[in-house]
Amino acid sequence: MTTDQSDRVFEGIRIADFAWVGVGPLVSKYLADHGAEVIRIESSVRPEPLRRAPPFVNDEPGLDNSGYYADFNSSKKCASLNLQHPDGVAIARRIIAECDIVTESFTPKAMRAWGMTYEDLCEIRPDLIMISMPMYGLTGPWSMWQGYGHVLQAAAGISHLTGYPGEEPIGTGVAYTDFLVPHFAASALLAALDHRQRTGEGQNIDFGQLEAAIHATETMVLDYTVNGREQQALGAGHPEHQPYGTYQCAARGDDDDRWIAITVTNDAELAALADVAGEPSWSSMDPDALDSAIAAWTRTQQAEELMQRLQNAGVPAGVVQTPEDLRNDPQLAHRGHFWMLDHPTMGHRAYDGPSFRLSETPAELTKAAPLLGEDNEYVYKDIVGMSDDEYVEHLVSGAFD
């Protein structure tokens, strides 16, 4: 299905995307997948780190072969530009002059050193919207600190709340805030873009990732500021509900790591669980004993089949799905979550689409991730307006490395 380009939400919006790794690229992906022209600006001299991170197709490392990078950069273009080159910053400013939005996620000194702060760039593009997304914000004593999503989840208190009771704060197994704060950043950016559409006024957005991530700690802050209580990690558990946990199921083939989440939030669900198990006494059993009884029972059950039976009886339950399970999930298939796109070097690959469905202007992943520098001629000649001679001159001088 191809949408008429003129119907795409962000048709005509152009973004210069200087951001790296997770947060920034995932913000611009929302816009690219809904029709914006997103130009990734990267360099082979100091490559975007995800281009060097696995998984690689055929396990062959290469800047145009990383699935990690690809998944976050669907529907985008890429121009290569070495900002350390004597002409680099001047060329970057010429790109920005043709853009509506600048996104970046460096520590604040980088854009200052290049003379590319919001104030600087407003001189060439007065209605610019710029979003800076450093870990700790543009100001303050930690503003120059570096970090990563799996470290920031710890700084934000999420790791403190993630682990087995009484044990070390292991956090999630992923760089969690990389997959959390982009929604907040994108919301701020889209609201600013709408404001500009209505008023003509651009603005600067100081997006400190830490300050957004704290909003994902539910009642942790107020329980402390009101009750003086430090909430603790409860494994899979819930402070108010039991049973509420993950239980091991029977092996599937030689895979003996199959689990199901079973949660009960009221008496009706407890009765339904007891009914499915054929154990009427469960309705009145001591919670810890019940937990053990459920675990013994599920060990004999196939996870998928048990999920169906519990859900049919009205018990909130679900398989602990692996990445492989998700690719076979009928609900995600119904929603068309995965997009299969052809990449010049990586081949026919699955990409994650946005998780919401717009009834009239749905997302469309228009192409696979860009090769490094794939769109140089288009960006430098058609957008920036370089002549053939000037383009070759910069190419030879290494400005496009």
Binding site: A53, E218, T361
Partner: protein, 420 residues
């Protein structure tokens, strides 16, 4: 500091919020962005007012910290949507609204006036956002889900926890958070389109699908290598390659770092120098080790096996000797992005957040309460945390009187009939 702040970017717009705990953050984020958010709750109060913890641990629908956290910046109007009169008022409320955010189970939506097609026909300019466990249609559409079922079915729990032990979830609900925050993005994409065309649309947000966003690189890793990243405990797994610890115990708590403290990849050399400066680099200064770690610079695949175990042990021994603050400050000096594993108390006392004037105090009848501050700083149209969560029906007079034009007598009659 003046109390008069500029309006947020969504100040011209009104939101009707019919969300339970699955979607309450969405309405609040729209309120943070400046919209007028009217939480419509049943007479007697919304079910989420009974979610704990409570102030002083006393169960009271006006003292739920869950309610306070997710409903500040909102107004409250009570309304019985199951009555004919309630439906009529609801329709009139929607006539003056720009957004509707609801979490109604798909099989109950039509009866409550929340059918997608019916609303498209009656309110074509409305952005109608549904947040449901699995989406408004499809084979699982009418299944039930809690937060844990969301983190399980969406794939986060398979990546969370220790090998051989039960998969877990963050104890603060992340499936709800992800669904709500992504629903705001979807709503604002639709809103931007409406600004261009005048036409609204339906936004169908699935909690399960929202959780799939959290997979890091697990999705392409399965696609490309047919390997399931799995729960790594206190570790990392990138592209199917297992890596070392990333949380290390310091003398006074925990620090978080790149795997192996950054002793591979681009930061390896300076990290070894740092440890060596403290006389704790072990064998890592040998030519053999330097060559081994230099080889990891181009490709971010971590060392494994005995080499990995050794790197890990060097870091474990090192970190125990120093405080969190010293470790992180020294690591940052060599551009190695360590951080402190904050407890709630640490965060509230954090000097950086204080310097940025992050925390906000809101006035309640009972106390002044400290809340997290704006999640982004917009220079012209600031996000703001303006007022506490409403009491049950606190704004009925404003909503039914000022907005809908009901007389005082009519409002009293509606209350007497139990409609509001």
């Amino acid at each position: 500091m003046t109390t008069q702040t500029a309006a947020g970017p969504l100040a011209p717009f009104r939101v009707i919020d019919l969300s339970n705990e699955l979607g309450q953050l969405a309405g609040r984020m729209l309120g943070d962005l400046g919209a007028e958010v009217i939480k419509v709750e049943p007479p007697g109060g919304d079910e989420s007012r009974f979610i704990g913890p409570f102030r002083g641990d006393v169960v009271d629908p006006e003292q739920s910290l869950h309610w306070w956290t997710f409903n500040n910046n909102k107004l409250s109007a009570t309304l019985d949507l199951t009555s004919a009169r309630g439906q009529e008022l609801f329709t009139r409320l929607l006539d003056g609204a720009d957004f509707l955010v609801e979490t109604c189970p798909p099989d109950a939506a039509a009866a409550l006036g929340l059918g997608i097609e019916a609303l498209r026909a009656s309110h074509p300019a409305l952005v109608h956002t549904s947040i449901t466990p699995f989406g408004r249609d499809g084979p699982y559409a009418n299944w039930k889900a809690t937060d844990l079922v969301g983190t399980a079915m969406g794939g986060l729990s398979s990546l969370c926890g220790a090998p051989g032990r039960p998969p877990i979830r963050p104890t603060a609900s992340q499936a709800y958070t992800q669904a709500s925050a992504q629903a705001v993005v979807g709503s604002l994409v639709a809103h931007y389109q409406r600004t261009k065309t005048g036409t609204g649309q339906h936004v169908d947000q699935s909690m399960q699908e929202a959780v799939t966003f959290t997979h890091d690189n697990a999705s392409p890793t399965w696609d490309i290598r047919a390997i399931n990243n799995s729960r790594p405990g206190n570790g990392r797994e990138i592209g199917g390659y297992k890596s070392g610890q990333y949380v290390y115990e310091a003398a006074d708590g925990y620090v978080a770092a790149l795997s192996y403290g950054g002793l591979f990849g681009l930061t390896a050399r300076q990290t070894i120098e740092w440890l060596d400066h403290h006389g704790m680099a072990g064998d890592l200064t040998s030519d053999e080790w330097l060559a081994k770690l230099d080889a990891t610079q181009g490709i971010l695949i971590p060392p494994a096996g005995e080499d990995g175990d050794y790197l890990n042990q060097v870091l474990v021994d090192f970190c125990k000797q120093f405080t969190r603050a010293q470790l992180v400050a020294e690591a940052q000096q060599i551009r190695n992005g360590w951080g402190i594993v904050h407890t709630p108390g640490d965060l509230l006392e954090n000097e950086h957040l204080a310097a940025r004037d992050y925390w906000v105090e809101l006035e309640h009848e009972e106390a002044h309460v400290t809340y997290p501050g704006p999640w982004a700083r917009l220079s012209k149209t600031p996000i703001s945390v303006r007022h506490r969560a409403p009491r049950i029906g606190e704004h009925n007079d404003y909503v039914y009187g000022n907005l809908l034009g009901c007389s005082d007598d009519e409002i009293a009659e509606l209350a007497a009939q139990g409609v509001i």
